[in-house]
Amino acid sequence: MPSSDPLPVTPLETAALLPDRFLRWFASRGWSPREHQLALLAKARDDRSALLIAPTGAGKTLAGFLPTLVELSEQQLSSPSPARGEGAHLASSEIISTGRGVKRSGGLHTLYISPLKALAVDIARNLETPIAEMGLPVKVETRTGDTPVSRRQRQRRYPPDILLTTPEQLALLLSSDDAPFLFGSLKRIVLDELHALVTSKRGDLLSLGLARLWRLAPEMRGIGLSATVAEPESLARFLVPQREAKEVSADIVVAGGAAAPIVEMLDTKERLPWAGHSARHALVEMYDLIKANKTTLIFVNTRSQAEMLFQEFWRMNDDGLAIALHHGSLDVAQRRKVEDAMSSGKLRGVVCTSSLDLGVDWGDVDLVINVGAPKGSSRLMQRIGRANHRIDEASRAVLVPANRFEVLECAVAIDAIADNAQDTPPLRTGALDVLAQHVLGCACGEPFLSDELYAEVLTAATYSGLTRTDFDDVVDFVATGGYALKTYERFARIRQDKSGRWRVANPRVRQSYRLNVGTIVEDTMLKVKLVRSRGGGSGLTGALGRGGRMLGEIEEAFIEGLVIGDTFVFGGEVVRYEALAEDNVYVSRANDRDAKVPSYMGGKFPLSTYLAERVRKLLDDQRQWKALPEQVRDWLSLQKDFSRVPAVRELLVETFPRGSKHYLVCYPFEGRLAHQTLGMLLTRRMERMRVRPLGFVANEYALAVWGLGDMSFMIRHGKLDLNALFDPDMLGDDLEAWLAESALMKRTFRTCAVISGLIARRFTGEEKSRRQVLFSTDLIYDVLRKHQADHVLLRAARADAATGLLDLKRLGDMLSRIQGRITHRELDHVSPLAVPVMLEIGRESVYGEAADELLAEAADELVKEATG
């Protein structure tokens, strides 16, 4: 356990690292510098890059900026250049720049990158205090999408000492002509919440941006600020240029002193549900917790869960507790209102999704309630860290499992936290679509030579393994689309000049790049507008008044699952789906008490491999069961007597009849995404084996497939071989055949097409929705796949699918693990362990059914109506 002892650094050493006025300032606040803050100063003095691993509340931000503040204050002392007069805030006009190549004192010293623009703004505010109180001549500015154009231009000409911004803004700055001028003076880059940044394509973009900066500013050193991660060494690689396949890492500084969090599982007096994700059974107990604490954050996994809980709390809120709702789909103004109320201490509880996983510090949260599955131990620890941002006090958290399987997951998550076991993903392999965006960005700035840019890209940690072929394919793609049929030479977006340098072909290309920079491709969102009900609900849009109050935005996919007249909860109200017109979903206020919140939209994150393995171990080790709630123990004992409890490495497969159908249930514990993919591939195979499958349903732990064929009989008589059914070779031809038509694959492709710049998100400033775009990426996918299957964008989409929506890698690992370890139980009815997944049937979409059958059903209904 980390100690909270005072520094082992002697006062003398402290003095050497921290100038007098800093020591006095610390003392005036009643603080003394923390060990990790001094350690970062020492790294900076030694000209080293460093990764600081620290829990929230450790004074991480100040640690990241101290080296910069100290250097800037010393610069002022040692070289009283005319550009840096005495006085608190240096007038920016005094930094004189006459263009490129002119040696300047001053200029941009430190760049700070944060994943959230709100965080950048907040940090700027926090930095003002020490700068003003110590009278440092340091100018700090932010640059986000909201920064006015005039200020942006001024920033490029007369940069501040410290600029706080986001990865997208950095990419934009790098693509400008004056990037060498702007960044030439850069000494330090501070990357905040690095653990969160590196897990996505934004991390790839940032990694490429760093590679560019290392060339423009060879003196630049990095400081990464991160929560605890599984592989700090690989994260530390991100901060330094990689050299010729050798892995180079920044130094790692670990902040001690964090009190271990106190985490418990809610010991409910109610009956634990078999399935579902609502945690309705524990509403009163959660409400009592909110009542007993000053401020509680209630984290849930999905928007619909957040809506449901928020509504339920208000229904029972006899005490008039100030409870608010926060999720990413709510209108921005509404979210800001909640955040402001929160920071001024006006709220007793906030029901929120991952929209509050990161962000502004709120100090006074004294309890975190995590509803539902924790999904991963690192994720859970970060959420818990949102409570109590004072490092030496323990954060308190209560986990509320919504069903029996989630009890197991919560139990192992609590153990994992006690072991401080992390399960953050390994460093990404840089995506080719992001590289394409970067290459175009480079061409928008100074023209580049392929050889030089390739060498530069290899220094980026996530691209250090990039092959020259992939690089050249990407450049070819950016230039003319990368098609084997070379017909677009005359439409090239970038061209080589006589010296072989690539430059943009025309200013329009540059403009389009600027409008489309970034890697966040949202689901298509529809605006939810509240109108008066028209009763009938014919769905025709004509009669419906335009306008209506904007409630927020909702995923198109969610609305696709609804039929007009359905009710759902949005923005804390039960609303009725009235009509869809262009980008607008019209809803009316419904009088229903209960909404038909249709299907549970699976959370974005699947159960982590690490927690899954711990759950399997827990199941396998009966001695551990006694720590579980009695209801869960009984459930597992019943399973043991009736069928079998799966061993750690085996795959348990149960078959049984129910109604007129036959069921196969298996328990891979690999998360919903991998299970859905498995379900698709299994049903294809079973089709061929004449099992006549009808559909399947998956949850985080199990997969159930049903069909007309008697699977028990077929297995008993050797007509269905389970080892063959689960053979990893399903990832070959079956996968290929399925990918050809998979909607998930098409969605993945669309994301790559947007990021790579094949299609534009925005045309001349205005965002066009997919409905307005004149072609469909699905159709492009079909045509490209048929005519050039190895196209670089299809390769990028495949790579995404492997770890993203299809989770192929995890599925492949599982299939190899269970080879020869399949245990079959033939049962006469459903087993206790199978009940949860069986209960999902009907709530979940059935992916297995072919479009034709579903359409035929829709056509049949009409016949029934007609014939009465």
Binding site: G481, Y483, S599
Partner: protein, 236 residues
């Protein structure tokens, strides 16, 4: 082969489905073409050839394979029905210059389809002035018996038009399925777009309400292996 025998042959063919328009029997083909067996006349609408290169000229480098994809589907449906007349119902080319960008092999494929049959290009808003070197004849509309073929629908009885690219989104259990479709109320029809890159307009869009004023509008939805007749009121 007698006509009757051939009709029964079609009745067993999953890829076509009977649709009556102004009391004339047509077969809607799964590919999105419409076949008038009595006249041995095949209609396709909104091919939008060279849409890919049209976007490429504006900096959006869509894969340049849409024309070859569209033409090979067209060749397949022509081979299946062996019509003596083919009508391309307008917007056959995505822009005024698109025909000049046709590759030599694509042009040859087109010429091969025109051998031994009449070919009528109806002009559309995307291709108002087609040149004469494409083979076939150019017309603004064609009337045969009670049926009139034109690009933009007016709502007249017996009219078969294109232009709107109808598609239907059908809610089913847990998810919705979106496909191109024929829109027809029995008196008139709007054909789906045939081109590989052509998207669609929902059959519930007010544009369709203007043309099909009477109740009973049906979407003949192009499924994977067969067509499905679904009431437009059930789609969105």
């Amino acid at each position: 082969m007698t006509a009757a025998a051939q009709v029964s042959g079609y009745d067993q063919d999953m890829r076509v489905s009977r649709v009556a328009i102004a009391d004339v029997a047509f077969f809607a083909d799964l590919s999105g073409a419409l076949f008038w067996q009595e006249q041995r006349l095949l209609v396709v609408s909104d091919l939008h050839l060279e849409k890919g290169s049209s976007f490429a000229a504006r900096g959006v480098l869509l894969p340049p394979y849409d024309t070859v994809a569209t033409l090979s589907r067209l060749a397949a449906v022509i081979a299946r029905h062996d019509p003596s007349v083919v009508i391309a119902l307008g917007d056959s080319f995505h822009d005024r210059d698109a025909h000049e960008r046709l590759s030599e092999p694509d042009r040859e494929a087109l010429t091969a389809m025109q051998v031994r049959r009449d070919w009528i290009w109806i002009s559309g808003n995307h291709d108002p002035a087609l040149p004469s070197d494409l083979g076939g004849v150019v017309a603004s509309e064609v009337a045969i018996g009670p049926i009139v073929f034109r690009h933009e629908p007016t709502g007249a009885s017996g009219e078969i038009a294109g232009h709107l690219h109808p598609k239907a989104r059908v809610p089913t259990r847990g998810r919705s399925i979106e496909r191109r479709c024929f829109a027809s109320d029995g008196e008139r029809a709007v054909m789906p777009a045939f081109g590989a890159y052509t998207g669609g307009l929902s059959i519930r869009d007010p544009a369709f309400a203007k043309i099909f004023r009477a109740p009973g509008l049906m979407a003949h939805v192009l499924g994977d292996n067969k067509l499905h007749a679904i009431a437009a009121s059930r789609c969105y």
